[in-house]
C-alpha cells in the first residue's frame, strides 16, 4: 500500500499557536500508514508548491495530506499550483486546520488539537481506502441539432455554423421564421418582422454547414451528451442523426382567450396575433382601438408576466394611430412592463404620440360592452378613481405565451426539467441557457416568454455554449462538471451483488442508471457520462452493490470509525 505523506502548515502561527503541531506530528508518525510528517510555515507562498512537489517526488509517495487552511482559503490554489508542478492532485487531500480548528476553537487549544488529529486521521482512512473511478472517453459527434427555426433557433443554428459546426435545423413548419412570420413589424425599431430574421434565413440557406428539415419532428432521442442518436420524422421518411449537442428553441404558443371579454362570440374582439394579421392584410382600419393587457396572465392560473405584451401593445397602438389618421388608441394595463432603457424610451415615445394609458386593478377588470359587435369597454381608472366607458370599434386582447405541448413532450424525451408552468427550466441564475443535462441547451420563448431581440441573443448564447461543449474532440466523463476540478467520480454497480431491484433507476435524477438484462436476470449499469456523482443511488441500494469508488463504503466506514475512536 502506497504510503501517505503529511505536510502540516503553521500558517505563521495562525495554526501553530493553537494546534499543537509537534505532538500531532509525533502521533501521526506512529501510524504505520504514514511515511513522513513535516511542519512548514507556509504552503501557499510563491515557490512553496515547487518545494512540496520536490518533497513528494523525493519520498516517492502518491498520497499527500496537506493540513493547512480551508478550501475557501488558499488550498484550491495550492492544489492548482501542485497540479501545474506535475502532481496528481486526486490523491492530495486538504484538511482545514486553520478556519475549522485553530480559528473557531482558538479558546480551546486542546480541543482544537484533538479535532485536527481526528480530521487528519479520517483523511488517512479515506486515502487508504479510496479508489479511482475509471474515466471513459467519448468520441464527440461534432454536429449539433437545433429544434425549432424561429428567431432563437435560427440564430443558434447560424451561430453554430459560423463557429464551424455542422448543424441540423429542424422545424415542424414548412419554412423557417416561427412566430415572426406572422408579425409585420417588431418593436422597438418598427422593423418588419421577417426582415429582422431575413438575414438569418438567408445565412441558413447560404451556409453549407446548416441543413434545414421542414415539416419534420423529432421522434426519438437516445444516447447521451456528446453522442445523441436522434430520429427525425419528416416528409421524406425517417432520418437518423448522431449529434453531440441539442439546442431546444421550440417556441411557445399564444393563449387563446376563449370566453374572455366575449372573445369568439362578439365581433371585432381579437388577439394581438390576429391584429398582426390585420396589419399584414391592410384590414386594420378603425376609429378607436382599445388594447387590454394581462388577459389570462398574472392571474391565479398563470401567475406570470409574459414580458412582450406591453411593448407589443405600445407598438400596435402607435401603428393604429399611424395607419388611421385621427384614430385613438387606448392601452388598459395593470403595470406597464417596459424595463430597461430601450423599452422605457419606447414607452415615452408612445406617451408623446398620444396613446392613452389607463391603469386598472386586477380585482376590478374592465368590462366589455356590446352584443354582436363590440361597442365599448368600461374600465375603472385607478389613477383618477372614476369609472370610464370608452367607445370603441376594436378590442385587442393581450394574451400571454403558454408552453407548447410538443415542447413538453420533447422535455420528457430528453429528460430535462420544466418549471411549474411548463417552460424549460434553466440552471439558475448564471447559466440561463443551460439545462441540468450536459449537451442540451435552451433558448427563446420555450425557455421563458421573450421578445425577438432577446430570443436572437439567447440563440447566440446557446450556440456559444453548445460550441464550447462540441469543441472537445474527446469527452472525458470525469471532467463533465460545472464545478471547477471536475466531478468527484461516478457510481459503479457491482453486477455480482446487484439484485436488479431498480431502486437506483427510480432515484437517479439524470437517468444514468439503467437495468440491463444479462443472462436470466437484470442488473444495474451506470452510464458514466450521465452520472453526476450525486450519490443518490448509493444511498438507496439495499445490498451495497452501488458504490462511489472515491468514497466507497469501506472508506467512509473507516472514516467514521476513526472519528469516533476516542469517543468510544
Amino acid at each position: 500500500m502506497a504510503k501517505i505523506g503529511v505536510i502540516l502548515c503553521t500558517c505563521f502561527g495562525e495554526i501553530g499557536r493553537v494546534v499543537d503541531l509537534e505532538s500531532l506530528k509525533t502521533r501521526l508518525e506512529a501510524d504505520p500508514a504514514v511515511d513522513f510528517v513535516t511542519i512548514r510555515d507556509s504552503l501557499c507562498l510563491p515557490g512553496d508548491a515547487a518545494r512540496t512537489q520536490a518533497l513528494i517526488h523525493e519520498r516517492g509517495i502518491g498520497k499527500v495530506i496537506l493540513g493547512a487552511c480551508s478550501t475557501y482559503g488558499k488550498m484550491e490554489f495550492v492544489r492548482l499550483a501542485l497540479a501545474r508542478e506535475g502532481t496528481d492532485v486526486r490523491t492530495v487531500r486538504a484538511v482545514d486546520l486553520r478556519e475549522g480548528c485553530a480559528w473557531v476553537h482558538g479558546k480551546d487549544p486542546e480541543g482544537a488539537s484533538r479535532r485536527a488529529a481526528n480530521q487528519i486521521e479520517m483523511e488517512i482512512a479515506l486515502l487508504q481506502n479510496r479508489r479511482d473511478s475509471k474515466d471513459v472517453a467519448i468520441r464527440m459527434q461534432q454536429e449539433a441539432l437545433v429544434i425549432g427555426a424561429g428567431p432563437a433557433g435560427l440564430s443558434a443554428a447560424c451561430g453554430l455554423a459560423r463557429l464551424g459546426f455542422k448543424t441540423h435545423l429542424v422545424d415542424r413548419g414548412s419554412a423557417p421564421g416561427g412566430l415572426l412570420n406572422v408579425i409585420t413589424k417588431t418593436f422597438p425599431i418598427d422593423e418588419p418582422g421577417p426582415e429582422k430574421i431575413k438575414n438569418l434565413i438567408d445565412e441558413t440557406g447560404r451556409n453549407s454547414l446548416i441543413r434545414f428539415y421542414g415539416k419534420t419532428k423529432v421522434s426519438a432521442v437516445k444516447g447521451y451528451a456528446g453522442d445523441f442518436k436522434v430520429s427525425l420524422a419528416g416528409p421524406e421518411g425517417n432520418t437518423a442523426l448522431r449529434v453531440g449537442a441539442v439546442v431546444l428553441a421550440t417556441g411557445a404558443r399564444v393563449l387563446f382567450p376563449q370566453g374572455l371579454f366575449g372573445y369568439g362570440k362578439v365581433k371585432n374582439i381579437i388577439t394581438q396575433m390576429e391584429m398582426e394579421r390585420r396589419f399584414a392584410t391592410g384590414a386594420a382600419s378603425c376609429k378607436t382601438a382599445v388594447f387590454v393587457q394581462c388577459v389570462g396572465a398574472r392571474n391565479s392560473e398563470r401567475p406570470y408576466c409574459s414580458t412582450i405584451c406591453c411593448p407589443l401593445s405600445l407598438k400596435n397602438a402607435m401603428r393604429v394611430m399611424d395607419e388611421n389618421p385621427g384614430a385613438k388608441a387606448y392601452v388598459l394595463h395593470r403595470d406597464i412592463m417596459t424595463p430597461g432603457s430601450v423599452l422605457e424610451a419606447y414607452y415615452r415615445k408612445a406617451l408623446q404620440k398620444g396613446v392613452q394609458f389607463i391603469r386598472f386593478d386586477a380585482d376590478r377588470p374592465p368590462e366589455m360592452r356590446g352584443k354582436d359587435q363590440v361597442s365599448g369597454i368600461e374600465v375603472f381608472d385607478t389613477i383618477s378613481g372614476v369609472s370610464r366607458t370608452l367607445e370603441t370599434d376594436l378590442l385587442v386582447l393581450s394574451t400571454p405565451f403558454i408552453p407548447d405541448p410538443d415542447a413538453t413532450a420533447l422535455a420528457r424525451m430528453l429528460n430535462i426539467p420544466v418549471d411549474k408552468y411548463g417552460f424549460y427550466a434553466e440552471v439558475y441564475p448564471i447559466h440561463p441557457v443551460e439545462t441540468r443535462n450536459d449537451g442540451i441547451f435552451i433558448c427563446g420563448t420555450a425557455r421563458w416568454p421573450v421578445a425577438s431581440d432577446q430570443a436572437i441573443a439567447q440563440g447566440e448564447a446557446a450556440a456559444m455554449k453548445a460550441a464550447s461543449f462540441l469543441g472537445k474532440e474527446d469527452l472525458s466523463a470525469l471532467t463533465m462538471s460545472r464545478v471547477p476540478g471536475g466531478k468527484l467520480g461516478h457510481a459503479v454497480a457491482d453486477a455480482a451483488a446487484c439484485t436488479g431491484c431498480g431502486n437506483c433507476v427510480a432515484v437517479c435524477p439524470y437517468e444514468a442508471c439503467r437495468l440491463q438484462r444479462t443472462g436470466n436476470r437484470s442488473v444495474s449499469r451506470v452510464i458514466k457520462v450521465r452520472c453526476k456523482a450525486c450519490g443518490s443511488c448509493v444511498s438507496v441500494c439495499p445490498n451495497g452493490a452501488m458504490q462511489m469508488p472515491e468514497q466507497n463504503y469501506r472508506a467512509v466506514g473507516e472514516m467514521i470509525r476513526r472519528a469516533f475512536r476516542e469517543v468510544r
Binding site: 432603457s341 440561463p432 441573443a457
Partner: protein, 403 residues
Amino acid sequence: MQSSEKKKRTVLVVGGGVAGMSAALDLAGSGHRVHIVESGSDLGGQVAKLDKFYPTDHCAFCPLWTEIRRCKESPSIFTLTNSRLETLEKSDGGYRAIITKSTPVIDPELCICCGRCESACPKGVARPIWEHAYPPVYLIDGNRCGDCRTCVDACPTKAIGFEREEEKSELAVDEVIWSTGFTEVSLEPLKEYGWGTHPDILTSLEFEAWKAESGENKGAILRRSNKTAPRSIAFIQCAGARDLRLLPQCSAVCCMHALKQARWVTRRNPAIHCVILYTDLRTVGRDYYEYALRDFGGNGVRLVRGRPSLIYPLPGGDGIAVKFEDTSTQKREIWKFDMVILNGNLKSTLSSLPAGSIHPELDGEGFVKRTATSCGFVMEPSDVTESAIQASSAALRSITDKN
C-alpha cells in the same frame, strides 16, 4: 469540424463582473485566450456585494464563487485586477491595449488573511476585500490610511509595501468586449429624495451591504443613525430613474431588488413594517411576478403605487417623513418611517478613455450601442440572468464575423 480550422483569438474583456466573467469563461471554453481587466481588487463586480439573489432568496455568493473560481483556475483566462484600460488603439487587424495595473498595498499573492494588519492598524483601515473574496485577502483603504506603517511590521509574510508603483503593460488582442457594469449615481441633484440629509436615508446598495449577513451587523436589521431596530422602512422605487432630470431609463433590477430586500427584512424581523412605493411593478422574469405576489397578501410588506414628492427628516430624530400621493385612493399622504431606501439610481459606467483611443459608441443615455460588442448593464439595464445571456452572445460575436 476540424479543430485546425479554428482560429484561436485573444479577447480583451473590460470589466470582471458577472457579465465579463461569463463571456470570458465561454471564450476560454472554446479554446480562446482572454484577458480580463478589472478595476476592483477582485472579480465579481456588483454581484459580489449582494447578499441575496432574487427570486430564490439564496445566498448570492455561492453561484458567483464558482464562476470566480473557474476564471481563476482557467489556464487561458488572465485576470488583471486593480487595473484600468489606459488606451485602446487599432493595430494590424486587432487592437493594442495599454493597461495600468496598480499593485495594492497588500500583495494578494502573499497575503494569508491572518488579519494581523487589521488588529495592528490604529485607524481600522485594513480590512478583507469583502467578506466573500476568493481567496480571502486584505486590503488597505489608502484614502483613510494614516501612513503609520504599523501593519508592515505586523505582517508575517511581508505582503505589505507602500512603495509600489503602477505597472503599465501592453496587450495585443483581436477583439474587445465591454462589460463595465454600473455604479450608483448621486441623488444629490434631486433634493426631494433627501439623500445625504439623514443617515437613515440609504440607497439600496448601501442598504444591501448594511443588512448583509456577512456585514458588520451580521444580518440584523438596524437603523444606521442609532443602531436600533427600525419600526418601519420605506422603499422608494424609481429614485432618479425614469426621471428625465437624471436617468431616463428604467433600471430594470430595482423592483425585484426592493421586493427581495423587503421580504428579507420582514423575515429577519417580522415586527418591521415595510412599504414599497412604486410606479410600475416590473416583474418580467421567470417566477418574478409570483415572487411579488407573495408580498401582496400580508407578510408585513405593503405595496403602494405612488412616487414621493418630498422626503425629509423630522426634527428631534423622530424618523423620516415621506410625502406622496397614493394613486389608488388619490389621497395625499405624509407617512413617517424610521428608514428610507432609495432604489433605481443605477447608471452604466464606462470610464472615459483619452482622445485618440477607441471608445465604444454610446447612446444618449450612456449605454454602449450595438455597434460595439458589449454585455451586462453597460449595454442595457439587466439583471444577472439577462447579463449572462448577453455575455454568451457577446462572446460568440467577438469570435465570429458579425453579420
